[in-house]
Symmetry: C2
Subunit: 243 residues, 2 copies
DNA sequence: CGACGCTTTGACACAACTCAACAACCGTGG
DNA sequence: CCACGGTTGTTGAGTTGTGTCAAAGCGTCG
């Protein structure tokens, strides 16, 4: 657990300097998070809802179930990320969300977000920035699955995950916790679990990256980047307060 | 060319009933569209910008270029759709946009959008709805490429395109103009152009769909849906004015 | 007329999938 | 304490969907 403002404040702070008032507002909507057991489906594909969540602790994934029983994982939100914000504007949710570990989430009414946009425009743009970043990640994901080989895709996935975790202080340059199994990884990468296993072995053998015991160790960041053309995100704050 | 309000008004109207004032506002930002020649890159990957566009006429695509020279097409905006709205919030654009035919676009400052959010909240939520829908389409696209076979993916793509075009009155249940070539299609579907050709042949042979002479004809909608599990979007307006 | 963009086809290669089996690890209960 | 099933990881063998390479057909346009 980071400084009082939580992971969300930490993440948004890389984008815009927040006033004390805005920080209070953030704390307020993140009060009394609820506990959620591992494997619980917080939101279901096809349901309609008026609430969204901020993930406070633990891991989960948003996903889409297809007709033939297969599943595509869309994203792995990490602490500080919003869950289900998009769904509330569409009539029905186009995807589900399930926890992967025990987790804590803050629930909020979407109406609350609209109020915030009104009251704290800077905070509003910071949130818009965050959702834009999430979208950009989805788009990159799309490009990965559409055009990269299995090993490039996997390397890229872990680099991106590493960067996001570092942004909220949940990992170092070279190492982070990652309680995903190879089945979930497969559904995220658009591969079969068996092939994921082979790819992970190869990454290990060429001494680029190790994924073992719910833990990722990056042995050769440069090598991974060369493999897949990963581009680091520029994270310096770009919006300064006017006054 | 539809009624005076343009394609954007028509699209948003399926979501929320617009006041005369709001309609005027929409017309205003779409005044004096610029002409863009086919094959022109309106925005470039990696550039930073403060303007976005509304496509008025013609076809284009947003895409991502990868390190190895391959390309992934993210979306085919059609008239009434926004282009580059997300990019302006991130420091640099994560994708490019190029026209595919001669086109007309309205350029607008992002600041203008923020003003609209202020002045016409209903219009603001309609725009948010539209961007949420675009996101949902991207997510569906991701699932398609990750988990569907080439033929399912292709069928799904054309069904979705058909629905969007109908929404702005640019196609019927069974037929629409589609000036895409098989190379661009390939980059959108995450396939090789040659395989796209094979898939199109098969769709034609089993009498589901014909793609020829820049024109798509849907022979058997039901059959296509059965093939790929396409879900129609519920389009009844869900936001009614309060007063 | 030739050049060019796009489509079509065939032969072959290969990345990733499927099926099948086994190993390692866990918590549980007898 | 060990036996047990359940979950996850690992490996091999064979299959298949899709990519690559090569070439030809066909409009259109200068």
């Amino acid at each position: 657990m980071p400084e009082t403002g939580g992971f969300l404040e930490r993440k948004l702070s890389t984008f815009v300097r927040l006033s004390e008032q805005e920080k209070r507002c953030l704390s307020e909507i993140q009060q009394s998070p609820m506990l959620v057991k591992s494997g619980h489906e917080l939101t279901r594909q096809g349901e309609s809802t008026h609430v969204a969540y901020i993930l406070q602790q633990g891991w989960g994934c948003s996903f889409k179930d297809l007709q033939d029983g297969s599943r595509q994982v869309i994203a792995f939100p990490i602490p500080g990320d919003c869950v289900g914000l998009r769904s509330v504007l569409l009539r029905t949710s186009d995807h589900g969300f399930t926890t992967i570990t025990d987790a804590q989430v803050s629930r909020f009414e979407v109406a609350r977000i609209l109020e915030i946009f009104d009251q704290f425009p800077h905070l509003g743009s910071a949130i818009l920035w965050a959702t834009s970043r999430d979208e950009a990640i989805t788009v990159e994901h799309l490009a990965s699955i559409g055009r990269r080989t299995a090993i490039e895709r996997t390397a890229h996935f872990f680099l991106e995950l590493s960067d996001r975790l570092q942004l909220v202080g949940l990992g170092s340059e070279t190492e982070f916790e990652c309680p995903l199994n190879q089945y979930i990884l497969a559904d995220a990468l658009g591969l079969s679990a068996i092939h994921v296993n082979r790819v992970l072995r190869e990454l290990r053998e060429v001494k680029l990256l190790t994924f073992q015991d719910r833990r990722v160790v990056i042995h050769d960041r440069r090598g991974l980047i060369d493999l897949d053309g990963y581009e680091e995100v520029d994270q310096t704050p770009i919006l300064e307060r006017k006054s």
